[in-house]
């Protein structure tokens, strides 16, 4: 049974069509990557799936679904006297669940006691992003929605975050929907890909759906494709616009 079924989804913001007529689905344990250029409607799609935006069409989540969400970027005020421990506890209380799992989740994403004691506005990009991932895992989700979870992380940190997400997904058998610009990640970890440029350009397994023609159609002729390697040198298979 599908965890999510989307039929003819359209979103309009301020009388402008942002995404139009999208239809796709997600089964338990599947990993869907959403690809598309800037302004294609990727973030809007995730927010519509979370029911944070008004939309037309059908979004049907399975009754047993528990969603964890990792937003693209949060500009945490440096003046906030809040730590992620406060936020983890706040989420537990809001969901009415025990806060016993906080220690285990923090450990599994590599949050040290010192990070957990640091005010949110003073964390590095990588620490902040790991903390957001930990926040999304509270409440034992069975699907994660992630909007460019490495957007505010430098390149070596980016690889660590991707590895962490992959490990957690395998460990907890999580389905996921992730917006990512990193094609090497899509080819390595995604089981399905949705190409978006306001309209749905492709949907299927990465090897079938992502032909060079399709990528050119999605990103235009001016885009080069490079591989993303660990030595931080641009190599074929990653997007550089």
């Amino acid at each position: 049974m599908n965890l999510l079924t989307v039929k003819h989804l359209s979103v309009e913001l301020e009388n402008r069509s942002v995404v139009e007529d999208l239809s796709f689905d997600l089964a338990a344990g599947e990993r869907l990557s959403i690809l598309g250029p800037n302004g294609a409607g990727k973030t809007v799609l995730l927010k519509a799936l979370l029911n944070l935006l008004p939309h037309q069409g059908e979004i049907v989540w399975a009754p047993n679904v528990r969603i964890g969400y990792v937003p693209q970027k949060i500009d945490a005020d440096t003046h906030l006297p809040l730590t992620f421990t406060d936020l983890f506890r706040a989420k537990c209380r809001t969901l009415n669940i025990s806060s016993d799992q906080i220690g285990e989740i923090s450990e599994s994403v590599g949050l040290t006691p010192q990070i957990l004691r640091t005010p949110v506005g003073h964390l590095s990009g990588g620490q902040f992003q790991r903390s957001l991932i930990a926040f999304s895992l509270i409440g034992n989700p069975n699907v994660l929605l992630m909007d460019e979870p490495t957007a505010s992380v430098d390149e070596p940190g980016e690889e660590h975050i991707y590895e962490l997400i992959n490990r957690l997904q395998t460990q907890h058998q999580l389905a996921s929907i992730m917006v990512s610009h990193d094609l090497s990640f899509v080819f390595r970890y995604a089981t399905k890909v949705l190409c978006l440029n306001r309209l749905q350009v492709c949907f299927g397994s990465p090897t079938e759906a992502l032909s060079t023609d399709m990528l050119t159609k999605l990103y235009g002729e001016s885009v080069g494709f490079y591989d993303h390697h660990h030595d931080h040198q641009p190599k074929p298979n990653s997007l550089r616009q």
Binding site: P81, L82, L87, A90, K91, L95, V120
Partner: protein, 265 residues
């Protein structure tokens, strides 16, 4: 001290404690300025009530309720126009309130004063304090998430718009409790200044909340003592008028200046 004066003293100290807590969340939500101008809208209500001879607090409550709903709607669109609208509407309320309020009552409406309370108003005040403290205790986790990221809070199932309305209503209830003592012009400061002191001295949430509440109680306690013991001080030819509201905010401001000298704990 008469029983009525004891009721007043207890209620103003409890109001201070509640104001410190509400102020902490107001500061974290970056609503200090908007919150301050909300308090100005109490004045036309006070003025109308005095003009037509009914209880000023009922007039203030009605005006604050209207103001709260108005600012809640304005907040939903965070544009420059909204900021301008808030500035214009609430300062206009102050001007209209000044025109409406009878001259002999204007100073008290603007700056407050120590008033004896009967048992009924004391109990009503106690209930209001309980509502404010209950709200903070029950909703603090949702407030924390929504001020960190409204989007993340909404994704966790929090109705952020409704929570904002509840918070504004609680803010207005705190203003209403304090307005008879501090007046429409200064009551906002009781909510903001102690929270600024707490923020200056602490960097953990619990310490921040408790320090703000304590700074608020201390300001009110010292301000009340100064105002009752020596309402007027003569320095040469100049007479300083230490009415209750200005005395409390004066003490709070001195504490804030002192807090600037201290390192965070």
């Amino acid at each position: 001290m008469t029983a009525a004066q004891i009721y007043s003293t207890v209620l103003i100290l409890l109001t201070a404690f509640a104001a410190g807590l509400v102020g902490s969340f107001t500061l974290m939500k970056r609503m200090s300025l908007a919150g301050d101008v909300v308090s100005h809208i109490a004045l036309p209500g006070l003025g109308l009530a005095m003009l037509f001879g009914f209880n000023p607090l009922i007039g203030a409550a009605a005006a604050l309720l209207l103001g709260t709903i108005l600012i809640w709607h304005l907040q939903k669109s965070s544009t420059l126009t909204t900021e301008v609208a808030i500035g214009v509407i609430f300062t206009a309320a102050l001007a209209i309130g000044t025109v409406l309020t009878p001259n002999e009552d204007l100073i008290e409406a603007l700056f407050g004063g120590f008033q004896s309370l009967n048992m009924l108003w004391f109990i009503a005040g106690l209930l209001a304090v309980c509502v404010i403290l209950g709200f903070v205790v029950v909703f603090r986790h949702k407030l924390i998430m929504s001020l960190f990221s409204p989007e993340l809070a909404a994704a966790t199932g929090v109705n952020v718009s409704r929570l904002n309305l509840y918070f504004l209503l609680i803010f207005s209830l705190t203003v209403l409790l304090g307005v008879r003592f501090l007046g429409a012009l200064l009551v906002g400061a009781l909510i903001i200044v102690p929270a600024a002191i707490g923020r200056q001295l602490t960097h953990t949430l619990t310490a921040f909340l408790l320090t703000s509440a304590f700074a608020s109680v201390l300001s009110v306690g010292l301000g009340l003592t100064v105002s009752l013991v020596s309402p007027q001080i003569k320095i040469g030819h100049v007479t300083l008028n230490l009415a209750l509201g200005p005395a409390i905010i004066g003490v709070a401001t001195v504490l804030f200046l002192l807090s600037l000298l201290r390192k965070k704990v």
